[in-house]
Amino acid sequence: MVKDQEFLKKKAAYCLDLANKLGATDSSVVVKNSVSETVNFRNKKLDESNRSDDLGISITTYIGKKKSSISSSNLLNENLNILIEKCIETTKNTPEDEFNSLPDRDLLAKEVKDLDLYDDTHIGNDRKIDYLKKLEDAASNDKKIVNTDSSFTQNKSNFVLANSDGFCDGHKTSSFTASVVTVAKDEKSMERDYEYSSKCFFKDLDDADKLGKLAAKQTIRKLSPKKIGSEKIAIIFDKRIAKGILSTFASAISSSAISRGTSFLKDKVNQKIFSDKINILDKPDMRKGLGSRNFDMEGVKTDTLKLVDQGILKHYLIDTYNGKKLNLKSNGRCGGTSNLYFENGNISFKDLLNSNSKSLYITETIGHGSNIVTGDYSVGATGFLVENGEFKYPINEITIAGNFKDMFQNIILANDLESKYATNSPTMLVEGMVVAGK
């Protein structure tokens, strides 16, 4: 059982009190507990069971404008005494930073809505096993599938965030996650693909049969890939890759990258960085949302932000420290975005495939090829050649490259947005990128 709010609040209060007694002028503390149970299957047999019970505490103490922090997994008071004492000692020896402070009191979340983020349902290992059996049966139907790996995780977490200005709040969250990796083989090649579903509520989780079939289909169609020549070509990003491009955008507008001057989007607020059909929202108060929350990691209330309105950048993602440096108020984005998404475009997936006589449909990228300082993008890719709206054959061992500044201006979105992750995008077309192959 995950620890209750009362236990976490008591620990938090103990730490704040002790920090204050030892000379901290301000302090904040996060106490959390997370219990997860996972079952892994491989080739229709039980492979692994894993139970984890994680406790954690992290404390930040301030003496004037000096700051330091400690964290530990050992919540016994005698251990906390030693650590908080050490933290105060370190704080004294750390140089001042004029921007260090707790968040402004008037920005702290006051009204906390129930966002429906906790499902009390307990899925025991036997039910997990039933789900995975069904999933792997569906996934291994075709003879070309030679290996299946799947897992089911139930996670229940609880946390409390408290600070010496009187903020003290937290709540339980749950998640149920099923995933499957399939390997397909033919004479020429061996390929791997996956499918995945994660929800706050068990009853919303995708059907096992559906997940298995989808993974198998996506893997088999990758068999016997070809390599193509190097050329300039239109790229269509599958939703699961397009969301990564949206995440890169989010890191480039984080106030820390902006205040440090290490982002290609510095000083771009109120400028047009996408085409005028593009709108980007970050909406924290979605019920059952995977990224939903009432306040950020500092306790600052979070409102919905239209980050990009008709192609124009409207906001950075601001926390207290970097906000003070930039002379801006925190907008509750310490720790990043909540439920981030592109609004739907106005053409169908089919029309998007048809919009060029020849394009590449990308289903997977590998490598860490996004540079937010320069905006340069270059990654390894796997996908399909699309001609006149039809998937022709699988492609691999190529790279795709461009610069986000140009790519953003050229994004065209389909109208097929769904809520699968915390960050979501419709299928995305970007013209004018370079493919390197043969």
Binding site: S49, G261, S378
Partner: protein, 470 residues
Amino acid sequence: MKNFFEKSDLSRSEAENIVSDTLNKCDDGELYLENTKSETILLDDNKIKNSSYNSDLGFGFRAISGEIVAYSHSNEISKNSLKESSENLKSTLKSVKGTYNHEIPKSNKKYYDNINPIEQKALIEKINILNDVNNYLRSKSDKVKQVTANFLGEQKSVEIIRSGGETLSDVRPLIRFNVSVMLEKNGRKETGVYGVGGRQSYDNYLKGDNWKNVCDEALRIASVNLESKPAPAGEMKVVLGPGWPAILIHEAVGHGLEGDFNRKKTSAFHNLMGQKVASEGVTIIDDGTIDNRRGSLTIDDEGTPTEKTVLIENGILKNFMQDRLNARLMKTRSTGSGRRENYRHIVLPRMRNTMMLSGNHTQEEMIKSVDKGIFAVSFGGGQVDITSGKFVFNCTEAYEIVNGKIGSPIKGATLIGDGPSILKEVSMVGNDMMMDPGIGTCGKAGQGVPVGVAQPSILINKMTVGGTKL
């Protein structure tokens, strides 16, 4: 040495009894206890941004029967908590039976000292060095617009209790010092990053003015990139410099030679044992026994002493890297490659220090032989798709080669290749083998572990360079 039972209601002998009772009918397993003390001190944007200390304590209890692994971990080292874990393991493995394998090799060798690097250098001294780094770099050029530098230090104590009460332990120091500098010229920004580290005290890496060498190298890379032009796109010859570029070896063949992927037959190498997988003259080893290196271990996380494992000898595939589970199922022995990020994770076969040994060519010869290609000197990270064998890595310092001469620097680009065939494309192996500076972290199944790499300069006949210039 950490006494894990000092402040617990659980005594060592009680713990041993629970372990023996739980693992009695299993094939293998252990109780793994871990205490990690770590610190981060970060200078960024002219200020000390972060000084933090972490103390992490916990256990992971593992029972294995046949191919099934049951695992349970907790932060509380107590009678209740261990019993709860034991019940959890027993319930998963209730219907299976095995014979516990008590055999575990022993060694008296140690590859690092029992020290706590955090305590060996006062906080104020570390802060002073970071401030010196900042001032030094900013005084070198007015193009310097951002400096980030940090110290990471840790001491990890582990103890492994096996069925029957056999106990193995290790204390592992680890430090890392990193510098990142951003330059700006005519509105263009570029970054250079460099770092050093290993299993010794901070002073071993900072003595004299060695921190200045780290700064100079980061600054040099950033300056080169400031003058870089778009990278070419397409297949061409690639000369790799010595040292850190060996992450090519790590990604292209290292992961594919880990025991688990081969037992499960999901690696592109699973049916190639004894066959020629690389050009003649290519020998690759994975070595956990080099003194004080980042990837070295006295014992692995199952208690097996590490060793020098020959993976590819003169082009022929000789061995996979094994932990106890995969070794047993593949009827071979553990190579001391069983590792985990911490007590929260199960053991997997992992790399330690992966190295390609020297040949007899010079780097000069290689460059002279190339009409059109690139010379790659430094890299960011890499990644591999084990199943298809395709791997990538990102250049952070590279130059074009035109008619046998090094030309202009080129912008960061991703290189992509095919793991099982790339080593057959190696046409020259250099005589200049070098270890990396001690900065690598390898990710697998969500677990990061410190690793090392090494190689001489090599010439690859054909690789795809992911630039933008057609």
